[in-house]
């Protein structure tokens, strides 16, 4: 079975449009970021979050009113959602304050929330979960996540520059940064909290995106050796088309798993799975339209003969066949 058989799409024709589209999304994301900010999860922002299980059904509205009335300082900064299966009557209430850092007073705020609920007579309830994070913890986490991303990008750039060419490394890294920015933009649009899980998803996306890019680059490198007289643009286009089936299938299976996590994974995994879905789509898109496009801009339309000094890909399994293959394609290229 084939999804794509001998396609011959001119992907690079759309490279400028694609780059414009990406910039539009990134700028829109930046606009939302600077006007409304990106909602930070409790582990980064600090604060108190409690999950209460009520014996009778309560509406979010009722809980909000109770917090507005009974919580010191009112509930204007409180985030209130139902948590998990609606039949369980679980409500999560998150406020940005924390009890004093000393003593057992850390839980003061959590108790104030419960007092407010008790005053509102919403029936009996019990606490099934608490999370309290002091302000000092978040900053450290943020710094580390950023460092991990920056260093892994530098590492990948170095590796690809060594295995392929410098322009390829730049293409892959720019594509990965592009994916990070697009994902953050979508997180800002859809107002998902930036939590540790989401950070883990974002870092996974960097891996996925480079993986996708490398597969295409690998084919370009291989074709560069057999298609010496063709322009870089043509070689890239042919390579993208040759790997198109694989690109779509791989992204498809990864997408299916992420979708399953999003639909059935429960409250805790929602943000994680959403980030993965966005990342898989943009990761696939960027390896075609951003990574390859950057190499094409860098190397221009000139014939590739001069620049084909890429390190040889050793294929010890079938050196003889490679010889044959090379001759054949060259013939074909001449004929066309």
């Amino acid at each position: 079975m084939h999804i794509f058989k001998h396609t011959n799409f001119d992907f690079l024709k759309w490279r400028v449009h694609a780059i414009v589209l990406s910039w539009v999304i990134i700028i829109a994301g930046a606009f939302v970021f600077f006007t409304r900010g990106i909602p930070l999860g409790i582990e980064f922002a600090g604060g108190t979050s409690v999950i209460e299980k009520f014996e009778q059904p309560v509406s979010i509205q009722q809980v909000r009113q109770a917090i507005d009335k009974g919580f010191p300082g009112g509930g204007s900064e409180a985030v209130i959602n139902s948590f998990g299966d609606p039949a369980r009557n679980q409500v999560m209430i998150r406020v940005p304050t924390v009890g004093a850092e000393s003593g057992t007073a850390l839980t003061t705020t959590a108790n104030q929330v419960e007092n407010a609920l008790r005053q509102a007579n919403l029936g009996n309830f019990s606490r099934v979960g608490t999370q309290i994070v002091g302000p000092a913890v978040g900053q450290e986490l943020r710094g580390k996540a950023l460092l991990a991303t920056v260093f892994s990008l530098i590492g990948i750039l170095a590796y690809l520059a060594f295995r392929f060419q410098f322009s390829f490394g730049v293409g892959a890294v720019v594509a990965t940064i592009h994916d990070l920015l697009i994902t953050l933009a979508f997180l800002a649009f859809f107002r998902y909290d930036l939590t540790l899980n989401v950070i883990a998803a974002i870092l996974t996306i960097t891996g996925f995106s480079t993986n996708d890019t490398i597969v295409i680059f690998d084919r370009i490198r291989e074709n560069l050796r057999s298609m010496r007289r063709d322009s870089m643009l043509h070689v890239i286009n042919v390579s993208i088309n040759q790997t198109l089936g694989r690109t779509v299938i791989t992204s498809g299976t990864a997408f299916l798993t992420a979708l399953a996590l999003f639909l059935f994974g429960g409250e805790v995994l929602h943000g994680f799975a959403f980030t993965m879905i966005v990342g898989i789509i943009t990761g696939t898109y960027s390896s075609v339209f951003i990574a390859a496009a950057i190499v094409s801009f860098w190397r221009g339309d000139a014939p590739t003969r001069a620049a084909s000094h890429a390190p040889a890909t050793a294929t010890p399994a079938a050196p003889a066949q490679q010889q044959v293959q090379r001759k054949k394609t060259t013939k074909k290229a001449r004929a066309s």
Partner: protein
């Protein structure tokens, strides 16, 4: 079947059985009550706090406390030395946790002071000043050592306390950029407040002779508006029953014995059958205690716990080894205090930075939805591969299952802890891992279309894709390495999952898949493309 293929097949089978036994069988055994040896069940994949329920705490060690107490001790030593040598000074005072200052040294005593200071104080740098006042600052390396020591001591003390609490599989680790944070995970604990106060309690016990008091106000104990030299004022309960007000005691600053001299402590009852805590001193502490109590018969002895007088009984006779602390304790409080005293005091105070409590129902919900989502995700991959690649799809599915089994086995073997994001990472590893098979299969298809033979196509497919896979896996490993380096807690676990996933994926997609193809082709001289069914 040629002998190489046979050996490959046996290798795969062996790997499958070993990893299956470690990673999969214990889970099934637990669920369906099958027989399994204990050592195997101990290796079982452990559930993280977010799935099992429990308490997660992050504390900061106030390392300044340890520095301050060291500086204070050194300052008192110098004060004593100056008094002994009859070198006059106007004031000795603490400036910061690492610095104290001596003021008002007369010019003619300057040389004598310097000599005394050099002999007595070695761990502090002496600043100079023209007006007869000298700052002493702790040497930086000494300060660093003291900070490290106080964190390690705090961790060990917390470990002892948590063990005494009887929590199964607690996890206690140092973390944070300055290394001054301690993370404590207590699975299955529901009484959070009790656990927290036991962990945090400084547990500093001092027994001191009462000079004056109790008095209802602090001011009434002052002599000429000042605390007399070598004395200190400490608050405490008034001692008379039914009076909850605070009263003040003037105590000798030097403690007769401290918690360090304790041999053991246990809950007991006082003469009115009220809960109390009995303690015994070690031989050295007992000797000193006997001397002090013998000299002070008729006076009161204050039992000071964490800077507060618990009780101040009268000394009726010489006491050598044993004592009792009473106050208005409940039975639980007495038991907890005995536990804290037994486990040793903390040199530095602790503050809570973070607290997370996961109720057992919440954990069960997470497991259910995590497992359901994973199953659906994996099944959809299996269905897709079978539909798209037909019989070769079976090959990919076998590789996928092998990958799953190996990964589960590896995780169980290294004692990894399964968290909810861990499960998600696991499933995604599978979803992305199919990529290797897709790459190979698509390449084989291309080779077949180029009218190469079946066997040659398979060899070319695996051969060419091998280096692509090496490149993608190394690039991924670079990311994983930094994720592990900079990540904390859950992110680190995530990185570990990805690492082992990449490794086992490389094995299954290349070795297992290829051997399966070789098995299918068997010894046929001219296999048909149809045999491959790709």
């Amino acid at each position: 079947m040629s002998s190489t293929v046979r050996w490959k097949f046996i290798t795969i089978l062996a790997v499958f059985i070993v990893f299956g036994a470690v990673g999969v069988y214990p889970i099934a055994a637990q669920r369906y009550h099958l027989p399994a040896p204990g050592w195997l069940m101990d290796k079982q994949l452990k559930l993280g706090l977010d799935l099992k329920g429990g308490v997660h705490l992050v504390l900061r060690v106030q390392t300044d406390d340890a520095l301050k107490s060291e500086t204070q001790t050194e300052m008192e030593r110098l004060r004593e030395e100056l008094t002994n040598r009859k070198i006059p000074f106007t004031n000795v005072a603490l400036v910061s946790p690492t610095q104290f200052r001596v003021e008002g040294i007369p010019p003619d005593q300057d040389a004598a002071f310097r000599a005394a200071a050099t002999e007595t104080i070695t761990n502090y740098d002496r600043g100079s000043s023209a007006t007869g006042s000298y700052p002493f600052t702790m040497k930086p390396n000494i300060a660093v050592n003291l900070r490290d020591e106080s964190v390690i001591q705090a961790r060990q003390t917390i470990e002892r306390r948590v063990n005494e609490l009887g929590v199964a599989e607690p996890s206690i680790a140092q973390q944070g950029a300055n290394g001054d944070q301690i993370m404590v995970q207590l699975p299955g604990v529901s009484d959070v407040d009790r656990a927290k106060s036991i962990i945090q309690s400084t547990g500093r016990l001092e027994l001191k002779i009462v000079e004056q008091g109790p008095s209802p106000t602090r001011e009434s104990l002052l002599v000429n508006g000042q605390v007399p030299n070598g004395m200190e004022l400490v608050p405490g309960s008034s001692g008379s029953a039914g009076d909850s007000g605070t009263s003040w005691y003037m105590l000798r600053a030097a403690a007769a014995v401290t918690g360090r001299d304790l041999r053991t402590a246990r809950p007991s009852l006082d003469e009115n059958n009220q809960p109390a805590v009995s303690f015994s001193l070690n031989s050295d502490g007992g000797r000193r205690f006997g001397k002090v109590t013998g000299e002070n018969i008729g006076r009161q002895l204050a039992i000071v716990l964490d800077g507060r007088v618990q009780s101040a009984p009268r000394i009726d006779g010489r006491i050598n080894n044993d004592g009792r602390i009473y106050g208005s304790f409940t039975q639980q409080e007495a038991a907890d205090l005995a536990l804290i005293l037994r486990s040793g005091s903390l040199q530095a105070g602790l503050t809570y930075l973070e607290e997370q409590v996961i109720g057992p129902t919440l954990g069960a919900d997470s497991i259910r939805s995590g497992v359901v989502a994973s199953m659906i995700g994996l099944l959809s991959i299996v269905v897709f591969m079978l539909v798209y690649y037909k019989l070769s799809g079976v090959n990919a599915v076998v590789a996928l299952v092998a990958n799953l089994v190996i990964l589960l086995g590896l995780m169980a073997y290294i004692g990894a802890v399964m968290t909810l994001p861990g499960i998600a990472g696991f499933v995604l590893t599978m979803g992305i891992g199919v990529d290797s098979n897709v790459l190979i299969f698509e390449r084989i298809k291309e080779e077949l279309e180029a009218q190469r033979g079946v066997r040659a196509s398979i060899n070319a497919g695996f051969g060419r894709v091998f280096w692509t896979l090496v490149d993608t896996h190394i690039a991924a490993l670079i990311s994983v390495a930094f994720l592990f380096q900079f990540g904390t807690g859950p992110i680190r676990g995530f990185a570990v999952t990805l690492f082992y996933g990449l490794m086992s994926n490389l094995f299954t997609s290349i070795f297992v898949s290829k051997t399966l193809f070789e098995l299918v082709l068997g010894n046929r001289a001219q296999p048909q493309t149809a045999t491959l069914s790709i």
